[in-house]
Each structure stands twice: as C-alpha cells, then as structure tokens.
C-alpha cells in the first residue's frame, strides 16, 4: 500500500490483517519482523490521525477560509 492511498480505515484493516497472520503462527521469523514493522508504522499513522481530530474543535467560517486561501495564493504568486 502506498502512502498516497493510505486512509485511517485502510490502515486499521491492514493492522487487523497483520495481527490475524501473526496469530496464525504461520509466519516465519523474517515475515514476522517485517509484519511487526509495517504494523508499527500503521499504528503510528492511525494515532496521528486520531490526534489530528482530538486537539480541539477548530471552527472556521467559509468566507474567512476562502479569504485566507486567496491571500495565501496571492502572496505565493
């Protein structure tokens, strides 16, 4: 899975798949270590996604946001 396609739900689904594989006891040592590493990366991603929606409600009005984006666009231009 490339990071561009990664979403919270796909990450959680993949972690659960990894745990099922590890629980089966069929994975060899090399595969186990690779799966654990991949799982840890995904868990970090999920935790970061949850942190992003836990830091406090950020309420914006559409017209303010549009004005801000237009200003940023002008400055960049």
């Amino acid at each position: 899975m490339s990071s561009g396609e990664r979403t919270y739900e796909s990450a959680v689904a993949r972690i659960e798949e990894i745990i099922r594989r590890l629980d089966s006891g069929d994975a060899g040592l090399r595969e186990t270590l690779d799966l654990v590493k991949e799982g840890r990366d995904l868990v970090e991603y999920c935790a970061a996604e949850l942190d992003a929606v836990s830091s406090g409600l950020d309420e914006l009005r559409l017209e303010e946001l549009v004005a801000r984006l237009e200003r940023a666009g002008t400055e960049a231009g």
């Binding site: 959680v12 186990t32 996604e49 309420e59 559409l62």
Partner: protein, 435 residues
C-alpha cells in the same frame, strides 16, 4: 334539540312583541346546538395570528371577503407536525362551534378544526415527483453514493442556517463522536427563494477547498413549502456532481426532499448527519488502536522469544542426545546384570534339585549291588595307584623337569634346556646339562 325555555314572567319589556325574557345561558346553549348543526366543511384561506393556548391552538382564517376564528385541539395540531405562519395558505376541515361561557368566563365562537393541510402541497408533491423521476432518469442519484467517504475526516464542511437549531445539533453529534477536528461553517439561508442558489454556491466553495473531505447540509423541520428549496433542480444537480460526499439532513424523517435522494447519505436529524460524517467513535478508536499496538508488540516479542527458546533448545540437543543414550545404556546394563543374577540363582537351584535326585537314586541303588561296586572300586583304586609317579619315585627313579616344572622327556630337550631340575621322592635338585 332542547325544549324552548320558559320565559321569566313579570320581567319582560312592556309592550314588546318579542317572546321572553329567557335566561341567557339557555339561549347560548340553544345557539351552540344550532351552530353545531351547520354542515361540516373544508375552508381555504390564509392563517393569521396563530397562538397556542392551554388546550387548544387559535388562529384566524382570512381571505379578501371575510374571516373566521379557528381553534384546534393542541394534540391534534402537534400530530400534524406543521408550523403555521402569517399568510400561509391552508385548507382547514371542521365545523362551527360555540362556547356559551358562564358567569365567570366569556363566550366565544370558533370554527373547530379537525383536519388541516398546507394548501398547494398537492401541487408541490406532483411537481416534486416529476422532478425526482427526471433526476433519476439522468442518473443523478448514483454519483454521490459511489464516492469514498472517509471514516475519520480531518475537515468537515457544514451548510446550514446561521441561527438555526441544526447548527447546535451538528456540534452535539460531533461531540458525541469525540471528534474535534476542523469544521468549516458555510452559513446560508435555508428557507426562502434565495436559499437554493446560496446553498449550491456554498457547497461548490466547500468542495473547492482540498482539505474538506465531507460536507453536511442540515436544516430542521418545516412544511414542505419551507423545505422546497432543497428540491431545487439546480441545487440537486450541483450536489450530484460534487467531488466531496454530501450528507443531507433536511426536515424531519417523514419529509423526503430531492437533496436526500442525490446526496451520498440522507439522515433523519442533523445530529445523526454529524455522527455519519465521522464514522468512528474517536474515544473508542483510540482505545482500539492502543489494543492493536499491544497485540502487535506482544506478537513481535513472542515471535522472537519463542525462536530464541527454540534455538537454545536446539543448541543443547546434541549433548542431551548423548546423555539420553548413556542413560539408556546404563539402564540396559543394569537390566542385564539383574537378568544374569536371576539366571545363576535359577541354575544353582536346578543343580541342587538334580543332586538330590541323584543322591536319592544312589541310595535306592545301594542295596544288592553294594558289594560288587565296592570290589570294582578297590580294583580301580589299585590301578590308579600303579600309575602314581610318586610311587615310581619311591622306587628310586627321578623325574627331569624344566624351569617351569614341565617334564623333560627327551635328551634333545634336556640339551636345549641346559638348566633342569631332578625331582626325587623327597625333593628337587637343580642340575646343568654339560653335554
């Protein structure tokens, strides 16, 4: 009908042609009964001065030629789920009624309404159905349903009225999910003729912001006429072709506007719409991720520890193998010795039995043959004594022996041995062969 009341005698107006006087309460009661005999009908007109009372709601029904006070039981009115505003055209079904009053309360006339609907709603429904079929035929109900809806969006856009209750309901739904990300409010009128274009413009602008992952369109309940802005064809076409999924919550669950059909999801309340926009309970999700992390770490650790244990076991295996064989051999040896001992004992015990049998046999045979056997024995003893070397030596012979004590029986052997011993009856003498 009650019987005509009796006039009160002696209190009438002198010279009057009119009957009576009658007690007013009796006349009021007759009036009520007469009014109730009027045919029950449907009236159409505009609502004015709507006000709720304790048990009934009151309003006037007006048109250009006249007006009628109306009332309706509060429970009947609430069951309709409609809101009456000044100027709203309605159809009211019912009949005339009169409250006769009493010495302490005023009388009142009203048209007692038992059925009510918003006028022109039937036309609206026909119009709506025609538009619904047209949008369906154009395939506009599908595109939104095919969009990916993120389970955990970081940014949500909301189109709603700035002062409506829907705004608070959306916030309550998000709070219930434990979600506290970025919320972009796009306030727009949600009722009048400006509503549909304003809502469409707000949705287009929200969709133009890359961070916005999902949009909610929310409005509380109202009459179908109030909600008609959400059946606007241009608005519905905008929603259908938007890049972000739209979650609609317009009116109560009994109302179904066209935006409900074209949106990705249609919800019964703004709170439900907010909960649908965030597909996970963030608090539960955090706990779940923590559990997944623990399981993952546990599995990683277990995989390594178990393999290390296996390796340790394997490294000890050859030594253990040898030790096991050694123990096995010792065991076999012990068993062999024990077996040998058992065999010897058994053999000895068998020999004793044989000896006993022989002795008994000998004793049995010892009878008649005893004398013959003794004579034979003595003969053999004499023959044996004749061959005894000591007897020969006693007669003066000597025996030549080598160093080892073996007899030297030839001259060649004596020459070869050189040193020999001569054994006489009474002892040995060493001698040297000099030849």
């Amino acid at each position: 009908m009650s019987a005509r009341p009796k006039p009160i005698s002696g209190e009438g107006i002198p010279d009057s042609d009119l009957p009576g006087p009658y007690p007013v309460g009796s006349y009021a009661e007759r009036l009520r009964n007469r009014l109730r005999e009027f045919a029950r009908v449907q009236l159409v007109g505009e609502v004015w001065g709507f006000r709720p009372g304790r048990a009934r709601v009151y309003f006037e029904l007006r048109d250009a030629r006249g007006a009628l006070p109306c009332s309706m039981w509060q429970s009947d009115f609430e069951a309709l789920g409609v809101k009456l505003t000044d100027g709203l055209r309605i159809v009211a079904g019912g009949g005339c009624d009169y409250y006769p009053g009493s010495s302490t309360s005023s009388p009142s006339f009203s048209f007692a309404v038992t059925e009510l609907r918003i006028a022109g709603e039937g036309d609206l429904l026909v119009q709506l159905e025609r538009l619904r079929r047209k949008l369906a035929a154009d395939g506009l109900f599908e595109p939104q349903k095919l969009l990916h809806r993120p389970l955990l969006p970081r940014t949500i856009g909301v189109v709603t009225g700035e002062r409506g209750k829907a705004r608070d309901d959306v916030l309550a739904g998000l709070e219930r999910r434990g979600w506290a990300g970025r919320l972009v409010w796009a306030f727009a009128p949600v009722q009048d003729r400006h509503a549909a274009p304003a809502i469409a413009a707000a949705l287009r602008e929200l969709a133009a912001i890359p961070e916005v992952e999902v949009a909610i369109v929310a409005r509380g309940g109202g009459s179908l006429a109030d909600l008609f802005a959400f059946c606007d064809e241009a608005l519905c076409r905008t929603v259908a072709l938007l890049r972000v999924p739209v979650i609609a919550s317009v009116g109560h669950h009994t109302d179904r506007t066209l935006i409900d059909d074209v949106a990705a999801v249609s919800c019964s309340t703004p709170t439900h719409a907010a909960e649908t926009a965030v597909g996970v309970d963030c608090r539960a999700a955090r706990a779940h991720v923590a559990t997944l992390t623990r399981r993952l770490h546990g599995q990683g650790r277990r995989a390594i520890v178990e393999r290390a244990r296996t390796l340790t076991h394997l490294s000890r295996a050859p030594g253990q193998h040898v030790a096991r064989h050694r123990r096995h051999l010792h065991q076999l040896l012990r068993e062999l010795r024990a077996s040998a001992k058992r065999g010897g004992d058994q053999g000895r015990s068998l020999a004793s039995v044989h000896m006993l049998v022989l002795r008994r046999s000998a004793a049995r045979a010892a009878g008649a043959d005893r004398v013959r056997r003794r004579a034979e024995l003595e003969r053999l003893a004499l023959a044996l004594a004749a061959h005894d070397p000591d007897r020969t030596l006693a007669r003066g012979y000597a025996l030549v022996e080598d160093d080892a004590g073996d007899p030297v029986t030839s001259a060649a052997a004596a020459r070869k041995a050189e040193d020999v011993a001569l054994r006489f009856r009474d002892g040995r003498v060493r001698a040297r062969v000099t030849e």
